[in-house]
Amino acid sequence: MDKTYSMDRLSELTGYPPRTIRFYIASGYLPPSAGRGRGAAYGPDHLARLQALRDMQARGLRLADALGRSPGPDEPGLVGTDLPIGAKASAPALSIASPAGTDLGVTTKPTALPAATRYAIRLADGCELVVDADFMDRRPDAVRALVGAAGTILAKGVS
């Protein structure tokens, strides 16, 4: 049987307060727990996904649309790590351009191994490109080119 964690323990291991953990469950990002309240039990999957989330936050990535939210006003559809004006480019900047020149969505694939992050880049409805984080770090241009080429193929067909 899988190991289980109490809410307090899960909170301690991940650094997220219980309210935040319940928020992710209500949002569908985490599976439901066994029971609710202080006595509820959580599994390894909860821990893994929350740690992946921590990792993502530490990398300055956004989760905007992972929770099904629509883009805000004047906001690109979904953002990887586009830097704000004036921000120091200390982290490697990643901005994946679609054929239309706008940013494509990037987010963590939460089913990945706990500490490893993958990006799922949605190319079209039902079609995603999955990239390991370290590949993304090493070859951002290659990823950008792949997405660009895929966009052209999906829009115009294979010539």
């Binding site: 650094g15 997220y16 307060p17 219980p18 309210r19 935040t20 928020f23 992710y24 209500a26 949002s27 569908g28 990002y29 609710r36 309240g37 202080r38 006595g39 921590r54 936050q57 300055g60 956004r62 989760l63 905007a64 649309d65 992972a66 929770l67 099904g68 939210r69 629509s70 883009p71 805000g72 006003p73 004047d74 906001e75 690109p76 559809g77 979904l78 953002v79 790590t81 586009d82 830097l83 704000p84 004006i85 004036g86 921000a87 679609s98 054929p99 239309a100 706008t102 494509l104 969505g105 990037v106 987010t107 089913t111 799922a120 880049i121 949605r122 190319l123 079209a124 409805d125 829009a155």
Partner: protein
């Protein structure tokens, strides 16, 4: 009891078939002077087959001190208590685990709240009452009561996309939108003091009953759509700005509320003004056109000796020239041309970067600033005031960072904000004004930008009021601790004193003395103290103001406290006075004799409407979608599974987005189609004001919409520098025409023609006293001519 809700039950969300468990919102408010107490009753009903946990995000005024949370269910009433937020949540969650009913009221931002109704059994109904108190604004037209009903989408800057607690900011400040919602809003306002009220008007159809005291004003429609701010103006018979104070003596504490309108004094001296114009995509259409007109007229109203600069911003910045330009006719002409060419084409709203850029114009010359927030004085001793005038429709999620940046970077400049939109983020606007020791005006749907921008511009002329102190005796604690007094803007300060054992007999002072400095002149006024009425919320208002200051990083003695110490002080205040903040929430538990299963519960987020100045548009089939003008709205539904992430990515290409709109339940939203921008002769004429004051015939012709009548002969001597006899006649005619024809828009032109009016009046009362046109005294000729259409 809650009448008027009949016939609203069982409605389902448009298109989805899912039952939305919120049926209606009933608002009852009591207004007495500037104090208001509001009760918001939300009626929840579970029309489904499973128990429901419903979550409803809604706006309240940012000044609201939320003081009450009550639940009525099955004829029983339950009262909530305030606890530290995590603890409140744990109690809520535990209650659900025990199969009790649980209710939670949290504050995500000072003006954005989430109500959670946990474990509502099928068929059950709950009335959730949220009670708050506030001190209302007094504007030029009267006392303003605003009830916000919609949350506009807020831009989440990439640099601050997570909350402190690890939730994504986008979800914390965001709202799910539906095209229609089954719940409507009903508002009844009771206003005390009938004899002092001239009229009550509102931004929606309203019926006002003056036959009773208090006077009641109610929305004419029982189910007003929750799609923007609903605004009432209570026009008093006499609008006195005299200082006053109200006192409340509690068990071992005294409270005071002090009101004062600092005087508007124009001591002259040069101005430095930075104009900061939002050119993000959402400004496209009439917003940018009106803003440009307002800006051009403001620039033309600058006086010799002033200097000005400009920054336009979106996701990037554009600065047409470095530093400041001194005001002369050539500079004004350059600015006019430049503003005319401006377009709203700069993408998103990076407000913080724009403000930093504007403030940086004053360089690092700390030698000019004696202390943070004080008036910058040059070494020569001449006062040169610094102002930033910001025109924006930006809604951003990281208010606290912006406030902190303003405080840190403003270099003694005052910040004046004109915020555009039907559902403005009042926390952002007011907070910017607080941090920038300036003022904020909201321009809602259908209002003109020009009037508010001109008013704010007029304030930049006024000599700053500094060093405000309130002398009420020893031991009084002010909230805010370092109140910013803005000339002409009503100010409210709350004061508390804890009485120690030996002081129990100390009486409330009969008067409170306010001291301040206007420029170099010391000022002292006395406010008579009157006792507060029974049930006064002064303690809660004081606590809320104190908490706000702590939340925003504090000024004066509150500055620089460590986070942990600050947080615990906030929680203590909230628990002690029973008010909500972002760190303390209301929780209410309904213990049930018969436990209903909480396990298989459906979680429902209740959607809201978009503000009424945004509406659903036809999918842009033919013309490509302007890059940032469109918005994607997603239908409410259960939260997607993790595999459904990234849903919006494909919508970025217009052709694909149309496809999406038909295949899935996506809708494309755009701003309401903007009406063609009418020509506006008034603003156009004001834009032609000369650097040294005065108008030429060009301006008069613009007002006339053709050739304005010229006198055959003018006799005018000893004219002001750079004036000709034609300038004198044209100026006389323009000023007369403004008064005769544009009386209803006086609030727009009056703050802008100061230099001309001054120069003209000075000349007329001196060397120009005998000036004539066509044999008549010049002003008589002008007045007579202005009446001829």
């Amino acid at each position: 009891m809650m009448d008027g809700f009949d016939g609203m039950a069982g409605l389902t969300a448009a298109d989805t078939g899912e039952v939305i468990p919120l049926l209606g919102i009933d608002v009852k408010a009591r207004v007495s002077g500037r104090a208001a107490r509001t009760m918001v009753v939300q009626r929840f009903r579970n029309g489904g087959a499973k128990p429901v946990e419903a979550q409803y995000r809604f706006p309240l005024p940012e000044r609201a001190a939320v003081t009450g949370f009550r639940i009525e269910r099955d004829g029983r009433t339950f009262t909530g208590t305030v606890s530290e937020r995590e603890k409140a949540f744990a109690d809520y969650d535990d209650a659900i685990a025990r199969s009790d009913g649980a209710y939670l009221l949290e504050s995500e931002r000072p003006n954005l709240f989430t109500a959670s109704v946990g474990n509502l059994p099928p068929g059950a109904e709950a009335l959730v009452t949220v009670e708050y108190v506030e001190v209302l604004d007094r504007g030029p037209d009267g006392i303003e009561y605003v009830f916000p009903t919609a949350v506009a989408e807020r831009y989440v800057p990439p640099a601050s996309s997570w909350e402190r607690d690890g939730r994504p900011s986008a979800d914390v400040v965001g709202q799910e939108y539906a095209e229609r919602v089954p719940y409507g809003i009903r508002i009844v306002l009771s206003v005390d003091g009938r004899d002092g009220i001239k009229a009550i008007t509102a931004s929606r159809s309203v019926t006002v009953d003056f036959s009773s005291d208090p006077v009641t004003a109610r929305l004419a429609f029982e189910n007003e759509a929750p799609d923007g701010d609903i605004r009432f103006i209570i026009e008093p018979k006499d609008g006195s700005g005299a200082p006053s104070a109200t006192a409340l003596r509690a068990a071992d504490e005294d409270f005071l509320m002090v009101e004062w309108t600092p005087p508007t004094v124009d001591e002259g001296g040069g101005r430095d003004i930075m104009f900061l114009l939002d050119c993000s995509g959402s400004m496209q259409g009439s917003r940018i056109e009106q803003a440009k007109r307002a800006l051009t007229a403001c620039v033309a109203a600058l006086e010799p000796g002033d200097r000005f600069g400009m920054v336009r911003f979106g996701s990037s910045l554009d600065r047409p020239w470095a530093g400041f330009k001194p005001v002369d006719d050539a500079a004004l002409e350059t600015a006019r041309k430049l503003i005319a060419s401006i377009q709203a084409d700069l993408g998103g709203t990076e407000l913080m970067a724009a403000l930093s850029e504007a403030f940086s114009t004053w360089g690092q010359s700390s030698a000019l600033i004696s202390a943070p927030g004080s008036t910058p004085v040059s070494e020569a001793g001449a006062v040169r005031s610094r102002s930033v005038v910001l025109i924006t429709d930006g809604e951003v999620s990281d208010e606290d960072r912006i406030f902190a940046a303003i405080r840190q970077e403003r270099r003694g400049a005052r910040l004046f904000v004109a915020g555009i939109g039907e559902a403005p983020n009042d926390h952002l606007g007011r907070g910017c004004a607080r941090a920038g020791a300036g003022a904020c005006e909201f321009i809602r749907h259908g209002e003109r930008i020009e009037a508010k921008a001109a008013h704010l511009f007029g304030l930049t002329r006024m000599t700053p009021v500094s060093g405000l102190s309130i002398e009420a005796g020893p031991g009084w604690v002010l909230a805010p601790s370092d109140p910013a007094a803005v000339p002409g803007r009503p100010l409210v300060v709350f004061v508390r004193r804890i009485r120690s054992g030996t002081e129990l007999e100390v009486v409330t002072p009969p008067i409170v003395e306010l001291k301040a400095a206007v420029g170099k002149r010391a000022l002292s006024v006395e406010a008579p103290v009157t006792p507060a009425s029974d049930g006064s919320a002064l303690p809660q208002l004081w606590a809320r103001e104190r908490v706000r200051e702590l939340e925003e990083g504090g000024t004066g003695s509150l500055q620089g406290r460590s986070n942990a110490r600050r947080d615990s002080e906030i929680v203590d205040l909230c628990e002690r006075y029973g008010v909500v903040s972002t760190l303390a929430a209301f929780v209410c538990i309904e213990e049930r004799a018969v436990k209903t299963a909480g396990g298989d519960m459906e979680f429902v987020r209740i959607p809201g409407l978009r503000p009424r100045d945004e509406c659903e548009a036809e999918p842009p089939c033919a013309a490509p979608m302007p890059k940032f003008a469109g918005k994607i709205g997603r239908k409410r539904g259960m939260p997607p599974t993790p595999s459904a992430v990234l849903s919006a990515g494909v919508l970025l290409e217009p052709s694909l987005s149309v496809q999406e709109a038909s295949n899935q339940s996506y809708r494309l939203y755009m701003r309401a189609s903007t009406p063609p921008v009418d020509a506006d002769p008034l603003m156009d004429a004001l834009s032609l004001q000369k650097a040294a004051g005065g108008f030429g015939w060009e301006a008069a012709d613009t007002l006339w919409g053709g050739k304005a009548p010229r006198p055959k002969g003018v006799d005018a001597k000893d004219l002001p520098k750079s004036w000709t006899t034609a300038t004198a006649a044209a100026t006389a005619l323009v000023l007369a025409a403004l008064a005769a024809r544009y009386g209803s828009r006086k609030d727009e032109w009056e703050p802008l023609v100061g230099k001309t009016a001054k120069a003209f009046a000075a000349w007329l009362s001196g060397p120009g006293a005998n000036a004539t046109a066509d044999g008549l005294p010049l002003t008589e000729w002008a007045e007579a001519t202005a009446r001829i259409i």
